[in-house]
């Protein structure tokens, strides 16, 4: 896919150049103390960029990445420890481990540690990926505690809470640089891939992401494992940088430090991770000097225990109070400096929807613990036809939409979408079977660009080798928004946001489009424009439209066929003229007396 290529390479180079310059300066021109600080910075960059892969894209703050670093550090150290030391420092090492422990070269240590981390991350990722938001954050905290407790308890292997020593020290600025640049390249590339983009979409709005065919659980899982591996390699470097460490070096203090680095720069971008880390490393280095009670201008300062923690804490508070998106904001540095060239729309050979495509609603009913929300509703939505679904409040329209889109399975009956029962496939599989939808309350990926919003959906149905951004551009052109492609979605006016939602649904190349109150809140001009767009869609692609609307005028103008629900029952079906004349419909809308009179 070409789109991963260019921008990710630009981004990697933009971020790698200062790192390379730093490493060269540190090794060649500056004193050893500075070289050590630069090396430490590069190690932290790797760790924080690793966190960014998971936290930045999914929006879930992770407390667990210090745990990955610990696993990396101990794993690699066990393999590479000086053999002469093993018998004294680890006399009770289990046999299988003793056979492979000690004396291995650094790259074997790294490989072994990453293998272990991959397995651990995958096992823990299974339950974690199903959680979102704060619950997921706390689960990562649980992960950190589990790793810590296990390391402390496994005294035969790790020396418990005592210092683990005798690890060969071979990490200087250059090896750290290689790993850090690799980490940046991985993170920057991942951000633009289909997986990274869809995870960012889910961060903005999980329900909308599901409706665009995104398998949110799988994407969270992939990001967790990948980010764990990157952070673990930082742990490996740190172990061989320090030479001796204990489990508490990889616990809350480190977590706190890494977190401040990530959010100061801005959690959403790799640039933020690299920049924030630099600022915190400098700040902590200065504060450490003060901590011991330094002399400033002849003034003896008292010793303050934990001054760095206070400093780091205040930085986090300042960011949270004043600039939530961090210093670098929501866009990568390269995206600001070298904006992408305009993507050319490339209409995919969209074959008109075939005549045998069908949504068949068969005897659908739904009860919520005794309350009958929907009872025995049957009708058919055909391609190329605009079907309207109307009914007073509480008629069961939302329940029916949820049943059709597979979100809430019906308690009786079934919905067949092109022959597949939508209740039997995962929610995120329904869109790719041929049903795009919009939402009553607009659900856009607010912090992504217009083009990115549509690309998420185009990705879900892209054939191998197809450029889904060009397809997304084509979908934008269908609603007349190709000139807004690079704007953030949340900067659009209201009517345009509605049209963007439709473009996003169209990018799924659906046979049917489900529009939930598409004209809600629109002024007459916007409504007219909308009707034009919808008619065009039907004419060009033979897409079947199912429109739920309160605006009866709109329904009568737009629809070929209307279904009326009242109190969970289908009370009428027919052409607009038939519905207008139907006494049951008039009664449901206006009341019995007036209808009789």
């Amino acid at each position: 896919m070409p789109r991963i290529g260019m921008q990710a390479i630009k981004g990697t180079i933009t971020l790698a150049l200062p790192l390379i310059a730093l490493a060269i300066c540190a090794e060649l021109f500056f004193p050893a103390a500075f070289a050590r600080l630069a090396t430490l910075y590069l190690i932290y960059v790797t760790a924080v960029v690793g966190m960014q892969i998971y936290s930045g894209n999914s929006g879930i703050i992770s407390f667990g990445h210090a745990g990955f670093m610990a696993l990396g550090a101990y794993g690699s150290s066990l393999l590479t420890i000086q053999p002469a030391i093993i018998s004294t420092s680890l006399p009770n090492l289990p046999g299988w481990l003793a056979a492979i422990a000690g004396g291995q070269p650094l790259f074997v240590g790294m490989a072994g540690a990453l293998l272990v981390v991959a397995i651990v991350a995958a096992l823990f990722g299974l339950p974690l990926a199903r959680l979102g938001g704060a619950a997921a954050s706390i689960a990562t905290l649980g992960f950190l505690v589990i790793v810590h407790v296990t390391l402390v308890a496994s005294t035969d292997i790790t020396r418990g809470s005592q210092t683990f020593f005798g690890v060969p020290r071979g990490v200087s600025a250059f090896p750290a640089l290689i790993v850090a640049v690799t980490a940046v390249a991985l993170a920057r590339t991942y951000r633009g891939t289909r997986g990274g983009l869809s995870l960012r979409a889910a961060r903005e709005d999980e329900i909308a992401a599901l409706a665009c065919g995104v398998n949110v659980v799988r994407q969270r899982f992939v990001a967790w494992v990948l980010s764990g591996l990157v952070s673990a390699s930082a742990g490996v470097l740190l172990a061989h940088f320090l030479g001796a460490f204990s489990p508490k070096d990889f616990y809350f203090n480190l977590t706190f430090l890494l977190m401040s680095m990530l959010i100061l720069g801005g959690i959403s971008t790799v640039s933020g991770a690299v920049g924030g880390t630099a600022l915190i490393v400098i700040m902590v280095d200065l504060l450490r000097r003060l901590e011991g009670g330094a002399e400033v201008f002849g003034l003896q300062l008292p010793e303050v225990f934990g001054l760095t923690d206070i400093g780091v804490g205040l930085v986090i508070l300042a960011v949270m109070y004043r600039l939530r998106d961090g210093l670098f904001g929501l866009r990568e540095v390269d995206e600001r400096l070298f904006p992408e060239p305009v993507v050319r729309a490339n209409a995919p050979r969209q074959t008109p929807v075939s005549d045998d495509a069908l949504i068949s609603i068969e005897g659908v009913g739904r009860r919520f613990s005794g309350l009958v929300a929907l009872e025995d509703v049957s009708f058919i939505v055909r391609p190329g036809v605009v079907t309207g679904l109307i009914g007073p409040n509480g008629a069961g329209k939302s329940t029916l939409i949820n049943a059709i889109s597979g979100v809430v399975p019906p308690s009786s009956g079934r919905v067949l979408l092109n022959g597949t029962d939508t209740a039997l496939v995962p929610v995120n599989a329904v869109p790719t079977l041929g049903l795009g939808r919009t939402f009553q309350n607009i659900r856009l990926f607010r912090n992504l660009t217009v083009l990115e919003n549509v690309t998420v959906a185009a990705d879900a149905v892209a054939r191998p080798g197809e450029d889904s951004r060009a397809a997304a551009m084509a979908a934008l052109a269908m609603v007349g928004m190709q000139d807004d492609a690079s704007r953030p979605a949340n900067s659009l006016p209201y009517g345009a946001q509605r049209r963007l939602e439709i473009a996003r649904a169209l990018a799924l190349r659906p046979s049917f489009l489900l529009l939930d109150e598409p004209a809600a809140g629109m002024n007459p001009a916007e409504t007219d424009a909308l009707i034009g767009v919808l008619r065009q869609i039907r004419a060009d692609h033979q897409i079947g439209l199912l429109v739920v609307e309160h605006d009866l005028k709109l329904i009568m103008r737009l629809c070929d066929h209307i279904v009326v629900l009242n109190k969970g029952q289908m009370i009428a079906e027919g052409t607009p003229d038939e519905i207008r004349a139907n006494p049951a419909v008039i009664e449901a809308y206006i009341g019995k007396r007036r209808a009789a009179a």
């Binding site: 703050i61 296990t150 804490g313």
Partner: protein
């Protein structure tokens, strides 16, 4: 059988403390969506307040009252000073803010009071053992269980019988609508924090009474467990928090009793693994948010 009963009591008393803490977290979370990392520091503050009140010469009951009052005031101030500026922000922002507050408070305790544990002289009558037939019941554990039950009952009454309590339940359902009804958001949020402070204070009291000392990190571990308990119960569900707290207490006591000696150091890891495994089957927690505030 009596060993089993003994373990049951242990589980109830430990689980009760977790339940109080998790409930305090859930009360705040259900209203403003904040997972309060600094909840543990409220426990610690209570411990220090009791400790200094006793050193100052106050009788034990007064010291307890002083401790609980300080916890409530501290919770109130915490909301006013640290959390109000970020009210309404995303869960992530709130979480990080409280994480920073917690870290800063710990360093302050270490520097302003002491980095080492300070002994608290708990009256001897509290540390006795009650012998009923074959059972040896620690007074502290009995008191823990009773206090927990009283607190749960009291909170239940408060939430259902008083105006402020009803407002809080309504706020947990839909904060925006509550404000439209003309109730002051600030006072509802403040009430939630004061209640969570009281719950943390009681938990802190029970914790100090069992351990006999206070240190700056005292609150860290139990609150960590309470987070896990709150998630298992379903974040934001009050009854879920209580259920999760007791469940975690039971799991820990059972593991403590039946794990082989060589695996005992891994107990906490196992306990967390067990509860997180629950999430594989119930990702929303045991009592998800919909069954709100039915204690």
């Amino acid at each position: 059988m009596d060993i089993f009963l003994q373990q049951l009591l242990n589980a109830l008393s430990l689980g009760g403390t977790y339940a109080l803490l998790a409930l305090g977290l859930a009360v705040v979370f259900s209203i403003i969506g904040l997972i309060n990392f600094a909840h543990g520091e409220l426990m610690t503050v209570t411990g220090y307040a009791i400790c200094f009140a006793l050193i100052w010469g106050l009788p034990f009951p007064l010291a307890v009252i002083a401790g609980l009052s300080v916890a409530m005031v501290a919770a109130f101030l915490m909301e006013r000073v640290a959390f109000r500026p970020v009210r309404g922000a995303s869960g992530t922002t709130l979480l990080l803010t409280s994480f920073a507050v917690s870290a800063i408070l710990r360093v302050l305790f270490q520097n302003l009071i002491s980095a080492r544990p300070i002994p608290v002289s708990i009256p001897a009558s509290l540390s006795g053992v009650l012998t009923v037939g074959p059972l040896h019941l620690g007074m502290i554990q009995l008191i823990s269980i009773i206090v927990t039950l009283v607190m749960l009952l009291g909170l239940n009454l408060f939430l259902h019988r008083t105006m402020a309590g009803r407002a809080m339940r309504a706020a947990a359902e839909d904060f925006a609508v509550l404000r439209l009804m003309g109730l002051r958001a600030n006072s509802v949020v403040a009430t939630a924090f004061v209640i969570s402070g009281l719950l943390a204070g009681v938990a802190g009291l029970l914790w100090v009474a069992q351990r006999g000392s206070v240190d700056p990190l005292m609150g860290a571990l139990p609150v960590l467990k309470a987070f896990i308990a709150a998630i298992i119960g379903g974040l934001g569900s009050l009854s879920g928090a209580v259920a999760g707290g007791f469940l975690l207490g039971f799991i820990e006591v059972i593991l403590q009793a039946y794990l082989p000696e060589s695996l005992l150091p891994y107990r906490d890891a196992f306990a967390i693994l067990v509860v997180i495994a629950v999430l594989l089957f119930r990702p929303q927690g045991l009592l998800a948010r919909k069954t709100l505030v039915k204690l």
